[in-house]
């Protein structure tokens, strides 16, 4: 049953709020490890503001969304369904997936694209407690020298990078903070 809370908390001025949120999504994906803040969404807990804004900006009826067990709650399902119209799916069909890091594992259930179409891969939104510029050392496209980001793991992301040009892309969210980790980024343990 749809709860009243799920009907509120969307963008107030959709075209403009989505434009601002997308610019943050674009900047962070272009600069792995760079943390920016995003506002405009008021999703139900445990969905963070940043994850909510990403979904409102990018998800619609063409993009199945997978909710990991940590986020598969009636309020969250209703909110996403009402505001984006995205069908909720299992990992194998998902274009976007949302959840805590351990709830999203194992990663090999998600689509990594095919050699002719590496873009047909899932984007994972990993909900974190905090995001800071220390920890794992990142290099690669979008990073001038090196960047640091508090990743929840190292080996799993390295295994994903090794699949390039296939692989998953990640957004990391904590509150209204957002950072990205595309498949091109090379990761060294600090």
């Amino acid at each position: 049953m749809t709860t009243e809370a799920s009907l509120t908390g969307g963008f107030e001025n959709t075209p403009v709020d989505a434009a601002h949120a997308f610019r943050v999504a674009l900047n962070t994906m272009a600069r792995p490890g760079h943390i920016e803040t995003v506002t405009g969404a008021k999703p139900p807990a445990p969905l963070s503001v940043a994850a909510g804004a990403l979904l409102l900006t990018l998800a619609d009826d063409e993009t199945p969304v997978y909710l990991a067990p940590s986020h598969d709650l009636p309020e969250v399902r209703d909110w996403i369904t009402f505001h984006t119209g995205a069908p909720l799916s299992d990992p194998a069909e998902a274009v976007f997936a949302v959840g805590g890091w351990s709830a999203l594992r194992p990663l090999d259930h998600f689509r990594i694209g095919v050699p002719e179409y590496p873009d047909r891969s899932a984007t994972l939104i990993v909900e974190m407690v905090g995001l800071e510029n220390h920890g794992a050392i990142l290099t690669g496209p979008g990073i001038q020298h090196s960047a640091r980001l508090s990743l929840p793991a190292v080996e799993a992301f390295r295994a994903n990078s090794a699949l390039f040009p296939l692989g998953l892309d990640f957004y990391l969210t904590a509150g209204n903070n957002l950072a990205a980790l595309p498949r091109t980024t090379k990761i060294e343990r600090a």
């Binding site: 674009l26 600069r31 050699p115 496209p141 040009p165």
Partner: protein, 292 residues
């Protein structure tokens, strides 16, 4: 009368923008790879920058300052009409100054002034597939990209050398992005190729061909060449006739029917800025406030 109330912000509907935005993000995640997207009909003909316009529409926010150049110039029909289009449908500020712009849409040039981290460069692309004139079938070129099979491109450059003594390709010079995908940098002069490694985000939109691709900041972009015939960023061997610059890309302008010609900066904003700073070429006059 403002038309921002009559159209959705930045003209396109939200569902179209979401589709383009998802393609842009995957493009950034796989630098140089051409992401298919469902290009829309735009209120301008194919070939006038429909791809670039759709990418700009998906990126613009009301706080942006927007600049459009057509082969370096801010004042050509194409540049003026695209600038006006977004002024009217997105209500953004527009500028002709490279340094003041946050989003720059370009047709066939990279501005002379180095771009910063907070800027986005949007290219209008006619043919996104660098292998298209060598292999007309999309199914084949896609397979070639997936297998990293780029020998044909080197054969083409080699044939240039065999025929002309040097690599004669002077624009849309193929590059390899981050050691993986061969990419068409759009028909920019090869003089601009070294600038493809920059601090700004570069987004490419091909409307008719329905492809989007991207190059994140500081990504390695290497122009294809041979050890014994290295890549050379060439330009006309003259100084600018208006501002005396010797380091800029020049347009050749025929000025009479007796063989007279002049070479001027193709980047009009950069040339005007130099003249305002007091640089004067052989055919230039000192810049003064009253002159138009």
């Amino acid at each position: 009368m403002t038309e921002t109330g009559q159209y959705n912000f930045a003209y396109l509907d939200e569902k179209t923008k979401r589709m383009i935005r998802r393609a842009l993000l995957k493009g950034l995640a796989i630098p140089g790879y051409q992401v298919p997207f469902a290009s829309r009909e735009m209120p301008m003909p194919y070939g006038w920058g429909t791809g670039g316009v759709q990418v700009s529409a998906a990126c613009l926010t009301p706080d942006d300052s927007f600049k459009v150049i057509d082969q370096g110039a801010d004042d050509t029909t194409n540049a003026v009409s695209i600038r006006k289009f977004f002024q009217r449908t997105a209500g953004v500020d527009v500028t002709e100054h490279t340094g003041e712009a946050t989003v720059i849409q370009t047709r066939h040039r990279i501005p002379e002034e180095p771009l910063r981290e907070d800027q986005i460069l949007v290219y209008q692309v006619p043919i996104p597939e660098p292998l298209r004139f060598l292999e007309p079938r999309e199914t084949e070129t896609r397979k070639m990209h997936s297998l990293e099979e780029y020998g044909l491109m080197h054969v083409k450059l080699y044939e240039d050398i065999a025929r002309h003594g040097s690599i004669a390709t002077s624009y849309a010079y193929p590059v390899k992005v981050e050691g993986r995908y061969v990419m068409d940098p759009s028909p920019i002069p090869k003089f601009d190729n070294p600038k493809l490694e920059m601090a700004a985000i570069q987004l490419f939109g091909a409307g008719r061909e329905q492809r989007i691709y991207a190059v994140p900041p500081y990504t390695k972009v290497v122009s294809l060449d041979f050890d014994d015939y290295p890549f050379e960023a060439s330009k006309a061997d003259h100084p600018c006739a208006l501002c005396a610059a010797t380091h800029t890309y020049l347009d050749e302008v025929i000025i009479d029917d007796a063989g007279g010609r002049m070479f001027v900066c193709s980047d009009t904003d950069y040339c005007a800025k130099r003249r305002a700073e007091g640089h004067t070429g052989t055919m230039g006059t000192p810049m003064n406030e009253d002159a138009a």
